[in-house]
C-alpha cells in the first residue's frame, strides 16, 4: 500500500483512491464543488487543486489517484506521494478560483435559500479573498423555470455540472445540459422537455450553490432556523432515510439522509414533497363516538375506552373471544402492530388477527443507478406481517361476512384513505368497529369508536422496509390532531382490559418485541442507530 503524506499527516492508503476521497476519509478538508461521491468525476470547478510534490502543476484532488512510486523515486526515501492542500501555491489557486467563480455570482445571499448551507459562502469565508476586484458589470442571467418542482437562478450557478451528471448517471433521463459559451454558459433543458423526472428534487440538494431550488421550499424559511430530525420516509416500502426540517412545528422541507444500505444520497419527489398532504390532512382532535342513530359526538379517551371494553366484554360473553377481530396495518409501526397483536392474542384471546394494507400498485420505477421507487406504498408491510402472523385481511373480511366476527379493532394510518375497496359494505355487518386512525375520513366517521392517533411525523417508532431492514423514525413536530399517540391509545386499551399491563415507552415496546419475536431477536431500540438493522 502506498505511504503518503497529506498535509503533514502520514497515511497508508489503498492505491487507486483519489486524493479527495482519502482526505475526506481522514477528516482533512479539501474544498470542492463539482465532485460528488456518487457522481462521475468532472474536475471542472478547479477548487480542489492541491500541490503534489514532483508534479509540474497543481493537481485536482478529485481526479488524481494515489499511486505507488518506484523505490528509487520515493520522496524522502519513504513516501510515494507528498500532497499539500494548504501550501502557498494551493491557497493562491483556491483564492483565484473563488474569485473566478464569484465574478458573475450575484451575491444575493440575503434572499438566497441556500444561504447558510452554501459551499460558495463557506469557501469564500475559508479560502476566498474577501472583496471584489472586478469593476465590470455582472452578466445578467434571469431566473428560469426548469420543471414543475425546480427553478434555476441562472446567475447564481457556478457550472459545476453536478445536476447534469445526476440526470445522466443516476436518473438516466438526460434532461439537463450546459449550453452557450464563456460567461454565457448556463444550465438548460431541452426545448419542450422540462425537468420532470421523479428524482428531480435531488438536483437542488446536490447543487453546491443556490442556483437550483425547489419551488416548494423557495422563500419559506432560512435554513439556520430549521430544526432537523432524522427519520424514515413512509411513502413506500423502500424506507429511504430522510431528514425532516421543521420550523415552528411546521414541516418546511424533507431532505435525503445518506444511508448507503438503503437510499444512498437520494430520495424521490413523492417522498420529498408528499409531506404537504399528510400535514394538511383533516384530523381527529378528540376521540369520537357514534350513537345508535348515527350521530357523532366528541368524548374523552377514558370514557370511550371504558365503553369499548364494556361492549367487547358483553360481546365476548354472548359469542366467544373469537368473535372479536383485529386488523393491524402495514402503515403502522412495528410497535403498534405488536401491541395490537398482544391485545388480540394475549388479552382478548382471539386469534382473528389480520393485516390491512393498501393494494400494491404497479407504480414501480428503477432508475439507471439502481435507485428504486417501489410499487408497494406501505412502509411496514414486512414488519407487520412478521408480527401479526398474517399476510392480509381477506380471512377477517370473510369471517365478518359470515358473521363469525362481530367486533373489529382496526389500525389505520393509510394516508388520505378511509375505507379500502369493499370495506364499507363488509364493515356494515359489524356490531362494533373501533378505529385508531388520525384521519377524519369516511372510515373514522362510520366507526362506532374512533380513538384518534398521530401521523407519522408526530410519533416515534420503527418500520421494517422491503429489504427487511428495521429502521427508526422520530417525532419531528408536535401533534396537530390527537394529543395521544396510537401507541398510547393501544396501551390504554390494554390497561383497560387487563390491569396488570404497565404502560411503557416506545423504545421499551420495541425491546420487548425483540425479546418475543424471532425476527427481531438481538435488536434493541438503541442498537438500531442511524443505519437500521437486518435480521441477526
Amino acid at each position: 500500500m502506498p505511504k503518503i503524506k497529506l498535509n503533514g499527516r502520514v497515511l497508508e492508503v489503498e492505491a487507486g483512491k483519489t486524493i479527495l476521497q482519502v482526505a475526506s476519509e481522514n477528516g482533512i478538508e479539501i474544498p470542492h464543488y463539482c465532485y460528488h461521491p456518487k457522481l462521475s468525476v468532472a474536475g471542472n470547478c478547479r477548487m480542489c487543486l492541491v500541490e503534489v510534490q514532483g508534479m509540474p502543476k497543481l493537481a485536482t484532488a478529485c481526479s488524481t489517484p494515489i499511486m505507488n512510486s518506484p523505490p528509487a523515486r520515493k520522496i524522502d526515501g519513504e513516501f510515494d506521494m507528498v500532497i499539500n492542500s494548504k501550501s502557498e501555491e494551493a491557497a493562491a489557486a483556491q483564492k483565484s478560483v473563488m474569485e473566478f467563480l464569484l465574478l458573475n455570482h450575484p451575491t444575493d445571499c440575503p434572499v438566497c435559500d441556500k444561504a447558510g448551507e452554501c459551499r460558495l459562502q463557506d469557501y469564500s469565508y475559508g479560502y476566498g479573498r474577501g472583496y471584489r476586484r472586478a469593476v465590470e458589470e455582472k452578466t445578467p442571467k434571469p431566473k428560469k423555470d426548469l420543471g414543475p418542482n425546480i427553478a434555476l437562478y441562472t446567475q447564481r450557478c457556478i457550472l459545476c455540472s453536478r445536476c447534469v451528471r445526476f440526470c445522466d448517471e443516476i436518473v438516466g433521463s438526460h434532461e439537463l445540459a450546459i449550453a452557450n459559451r464563456g460567461c454565457h454558459d448556463e444550465i438548460v433543458t431541452y426545448p419542450g422537455k422540462p425537468l420532470e423526472n421523479r428524482l428531480s428534487g435531488n438536483v437542488a440538494d446536490i447543487c453546491p450553490v443556490g442556483a437550483l431550488v425547489t419551488k416548494d421550499f423557495l422563500f419559506s424559511a432560512r435554513v439556520w432556523n430549521l430544526k432537523k430530525t432524522s427519520s424514515v420516509c413512509s411513502g413506500c416500502s423502500a424506507g429511504c432515510n430522510i431528514q425532516i426540517e421543521t420550523m415552528a412545528e411546521k414541516i418546511k422541507r424533507i431532505q435525503p439522509k445518506n444511508n448507503e444500505n438503503v437510499n444512498s444520497y437520494w430520495i424521490c419527489d413523492d417522498g420529498r414533497f408528499g409531506y404537504n398532504e399528510i400535514q394538511d390532512a383533516k384530523r381527529i382532535k378528540y376521540p369520537r363516538k357514534k350513537d345508535q342513530s348515527g350521530n357523532l359526538s366528541q368524548t374523552d379517551l377514558k370514557t370511550a375506552i371504558a365503553e369499548v371494553v364494556e361492549k367487547v366484554n358483553s360481546l365476548k360473553k354472548i359469542y366467544k373471544p373469537k368473535a372479536i377481530g383485529f386488523l393491524g396495518s402495514a402503515h403502522a409501526s412495528n410497535e403498534e402492530n405488536f401491541l395490537l397483536n398482544k391485545l388480540a392474542r394475549k388479552i382478548v384471546g382471539s386469534s382473528n388477527v389480520g393485516l390491512r394494507a393498501a393494494e400494491i400498485t404497479n407504480d414501480e420505477v428503477v432508475f439507471k443507478s439502481g435507485f428504486k421507487i417501489y410499487g408497494d406504498k406501505t412502509p411496514n408491510r414486512f414488519g407487520a406481517k412478521v408480527i401479526l402472523g398474517s399476510e392480509n385481511a381477506q380471512e377477517i373480511y370473510e369471517k365478518i361476512k359470515n358473521g363469525e366476527i362481530k367486533a373489529l379493532f382496526l389500525l389505520g394510518g393509510i394516508p388520505e384513505t378511509g375505507f379500502l375497496p369493499h370495506e364499507e359494505e363488509i364493515f356494515s355487518k359489524l356490531e362494533l368497529l373501533v378505529v385508531v386512525d388520525y384521519l377524519d375520513s369516511d372510515l373514522t366517521q362510520s366507526a362506532d369508536f374512533s380513538l384518534g392517533g398521530k401521523n407519522y411525523f408526530e410519533k416515534q417508532g420503527t418500520f421494517t422496509n422491503v429489504q427487511e431492514r428495521v429502521q427508526k423514525f422520530n417525532q419531528a413536530v408536535s401533534s396537530q390532531g390527537s394529543f395521544v399517540s396510537d401507541v398510547e391509545i393501544l396501551q390504554e386499551l390494554m390497561v383497560a382490559f387487563d390491569k396488570s399491563w404497565k404502560e411503557i415507552a416506545v423504545s421499551e415496546i420495541f425491546n420487548q418485541l425483540a425479546k418475543e419475536n424471532e425476527f427481531f431477536r438481538g435488536m434493541t431500540f438503541y442498537k438500531l442507530g442511524q443505519e437500521g438493522m437486518l435480521k441477526q
Partner: protein, 199 residues
Amino acid sequence: MATKTISVDIKTVKNDVYLVEIFKGLLLTLKHFLKIGAKSAYLAPTERRAGKLSTNNRATIQYPEEKWVPYPQYRGLHRLNKDEQDRTKCVACEMCATACPADCIFIEAERSPWADEFPNDPKREKHPKIYEIDVLRCIFCGFCEEACPCEAIELTEIYDFAAYSRENAVYDKEKLERVYDLTKDGKFYQEGRKLDFEF
C-alpha cells in the same frame, strides 16, 4: 505592576472639625438652589436640542408640553424603510431576526408583488409577508440595523411609544412603515408629530 503608596493625612484638625467643609458644601448646594452658576452645567445641550428652553433654567423637561429631541444616533422605535415608490426595502432575509439577541423579530417571507419589475435583481423578488417586532422584548441594541443588508430596518428617534396592551406593543409591517413616513425627514419631535396608532 508596581503599587504606589500614597499617604494622606486625614487626621488634620481641619478634617476633624469638619464643620468648615460642611459649610462649603452647604454653600455649594445653596448656589444651585438659588440658580447661581448652575446654568452652564447641563442646560446648554438641552437648550440646544429642545425646541424651547426648559422652565426656570432647570434641567427638567416638562414632558408632554416640551419634548426632548434625541441625538441623531439615538436608538428608539424601529421603522421599515421604503423605496421611492413606496415599496418596502426589506427583502425578508431574516438577518435582523438572526442577529437579534432578544429574539423579538418575526418574519415570514413570500414572493414580492414587484418581483417582475426587477428581473436582474433577485433581491427584490422576496419581501416580508409578515414582519413583526415585539417592542416589549426589544432591548434596542441596534443589531438589527447593523445586520440589515438593505438598509431596510432602522431605529428612529422616537422614544415615547408606551402601549396599553401587549398586542399593541407588537409592531407589524404597516405600523413600521407608518413610522417611516413620520420620521423620514428626521424631524419627528421638531415638527411636533405624534404616532397615530392605537396604543
